[in-house]
Structures are given as structure tokens and as C-alpha cells.
Amino acid sequence: MIRESDDVIVKAVARLLMPFIVVYALYVVMHGHYSPGGGFQGGVILAASFVLLGVSHGLGKTRRRMSEKVAGVISSIGVLIYGGIGALCLILGGNYLHYGKLSKLLHVTPAEARSLGILGVEIGVALAVMAVMCTVFFAIFTVGESPEDDRSVE
């Protein structure tokens, strides 16, 4: 269990940097089909922001923003988005993740449909990676907690 850091500088700088790190992660995700980056990298940066918050402000305040339960739900939603877009292409008569077929559904040209489809897939990947990374972080850093406490809470 990580306690809140007692260093003023670390806490204040982490608090100021947190929103910018999240926006940078979203930028990496949203521009994944134009520039280096994409779902996985953006998801890892998103998770890193939560790790920074956990290391500097303690796990209690981090859990208020991202708990284990929410992380589990978000990871499932991310995989659902990825698999859903792939399956939608199958239903529309193409191969798995054949985004060009989405043009009928979105009323755009096949090229634009490919761009939008890969954006959706990347958002799904980012959500799943972020949530799984947060789960790993929580799992590692709550190892010291005694299991008896958890049982008594349940």
C-alpha cells in the first residue's frame, strides 16, 4: 500500500502535470493514424498518469478516480469496441476489421470509413490497455495488504 507522499514538490508537480499527461495520451490515440503512436501507446501513457497519481497522492485518492471495479468494466468495454467493430465488418460482408465496408453504415466514402474505423478500434485498444495496466498497477501495489482485511470488508 502506497501512502501519500510528504514531498510538497512531488505532489504539486504531479497534480499540475496530470491533466496534460492525459490530454497528451488522448492526442497520441486520436492521431494514431497520422503520426507515430496509436491505441497501445496512448493507453500506456493514460495508465502512466494514474500510476503517477497513485505514487504521489496515495492509492486512496487514485481509487476515487479509478477503482479496480471501474478498471475491469472499462477493459471489457475496450475489448467490446474492438471486437464489435471487427464483427460489424463481418456482418456487412467483408473480412474481420475490413473497415471499407463500414461506408454503407456511416454514409461516407470507403476511404473515410477506413479512417474512422481505425480510430474507433484505436479508442477501444487504448481503453483496454489503460484499464489492464491500472489493474496490474493496483494488483502489484496492494500486495502488502493483509488478505484478512479484504475478507472482513466483503
Binding site: A12, V13, R15, L16, Y27, M30, H31
Partner: protein, 239 residues
């Protein structure tokens, strides 16, 4: 004989009944009074909660809008694509992040105009760069000399800065200046490593601390421009 006894007992019984009635009315009165007080207290408290809730919602909304604007500027700096699609994506992302993290960027802000703080902070940067250049020259002069007259020491001083953000600004300014490194801040006491006596003396003079206090309007510092502002206000009041 028996008749008088009977009369006495009836009188006694009546007296007891009378006392009981008085007790009951007294109790009822106090109960009514207590309920009235409690209702009033509860109403006052509800009013306070409503008021502070409105106040908090207002500051939350201001923080949300401020965070969104700053983050959107950051997004445009990163993205460099100004077509409608990417700007919309950016706006959605920034609003989402600002909604989730609206309490982080503007936590512990004291009373004061943020625009004044921002302007003073921007005015502080050229002075800081000048100090960094001077300190660079000093450190180079120390290093180049054959004898290398360094005199490392840890300077400890109590700060008058109150909020965490001003302490962090001062600590990072000290670390940015060559020759000095902030090691720790504990309960408002700075532990700074200084490389020579001259640097330590400059640190103890507290010029940088005064300027940081001026940026964040802390420690009740009176400055020439503040006095001039006050003089102007007094003039308008007199006219």
C-alpha cells in the same frame, strides 16, 4: 370522622393529579420549544449548505472552464491540424479531461485574480533567465580558476510562502539557477545545497523569495506598484 378522612384523601388525590398535569404541560412546553429550535437550526443549516453548495458549484464550473481552455490550447499546440474534425475531437477530449480532473489544476488557489498572477509570472521569467545567466558566469569563474575556490554548504531557511504552488515555484527556480539545488522542503523550511559563500549569501538575501511571494500575492508584501495602485484608488475615492 370517616367523612373527613375521605375528604382528605380526595383532596390529596386531586393535588397529585394537579401536580401531574403541571408536569405534563411543562414537559410539553419544553418539547415544543426544542422542536422549534431544532427546526430553525435545521433550516439555517440547510440554507448554509445550499449557499456553500452554490458557491462550490460556481468555483467548480470556473475551474472546469479554465482547465478546458488551457488543455485545448495544449491540444492545438500538439495537434497542428486545424480542420473541423480534429478540433471537435480535441474539444471533446479536453472537456472530458477537464470534467474528470477539474480539481487538480486550480487546487489551493488563494483569493486573487488569476490573470494578475499569470501576468506577474510571465514578467518573472525574464528576471529568472537573467539570474540563471549571472549564476552560470559565477559557476564558470569558480570552475575555471586553478585553485577552484568552492565552499559547498547546506543553507537552511524558513520560508514565508504559504501555498504549495508558490513553494514549488521557488524550489524549482532555485534548482534551475546553477550552483544551488533544493534538497527538501519540510514544514516550510527549505534545505538548499549551495556551492559557494556568494551564492549562499544571495539565497539568504531572499530576493527570489520576495519576487515569488509577489507573483502569488502572498506574505502581505507591499510593493511599489501595489502602493501606486492603492494611491490611485484613494484618489478616485476622494474625487
Amino acid at each position: 370522622m370517616e367523612v373527613t378522612l375521605l375528604l382528605e384523601t380526595t383532596e390529596n388525590a386531586f393535588r397529585v393529579l394537579e401536580q401531574a398535569r403541571e408536569h405534563a404541560t411543562g414537559l410539553l412546553d419544553t418539547a415544543v420549544q426544542f422542536t422549534a429550535e431544532e427546526t430553525r437550526f435545521r433550516e439555517e443549516k440547510r440554507g448554509q449548505i445550499l449557499f456553500t453548495g452554490a458557491q462550490r458549484r460556481r468555483t467548480q464550473f470556473q475551474n472546469f472552464v479554465g482547465t478546458t481552455i488551457i488543455l485545448f490550447a495544449f491540444w492545438m499546440l500538439l495537434s497542428g491540424k486545424f480542420d473541423a474534425f480534429h478540433l471537435t475531437l480535441g474539444a471533446i477530449c479536453c472537456a472530458l479531461v477537464a470534467y474528470l480532473f477539474h480539481d487538480l489544476l486550480f487546487a489551493n488557489v488563494r483569493v486573487g485574480d488569476m490573470r494578475v498572477v499569470a501576468a506577474r509570472f510571465i514578467a518573472y521569467i525574464p528576471w529568472l533567465i537573467q539570474q540563471i545567466l549571472l549564476a552560470n558566469i559565477h559557476v564558470v569563474s569558480l570552475v575555471v580558476r586553478r585553485r577552484m575556490p568552492i565552499d559547498p554548504r547546506v543553507v537552511k531557511f524558513k520560508t514565508k510562502l504559504e501555498t504549495d504552488i508558490s513553494c514549488v515555484t521557488l524550489a524549482n527556480s532555485i534548482t534551475l539557477t546553477p550552483g544551488t539545488i533544493t534538497m527538501d522542503i519540510k514544514d516550510g523550511v527549505f534545505y538548499v545545497h549551495a556551492v559557494s559563500q556568494k551564492v549562499a549569501d544571495e539565497l539568504n538575501a531572499g530576493d527570489m523569495e520576495d519576487r515569488v511571494a509577489h507573483i502569488f500575492m502572498e506574505a502581505d508584501h507591499l510593493y511599489v506598484e501595489d502602493v501606486l495602485d492603492a494611491a490611485r484608488i484613494y484618489q478616485t475615492l476622494r474625487v
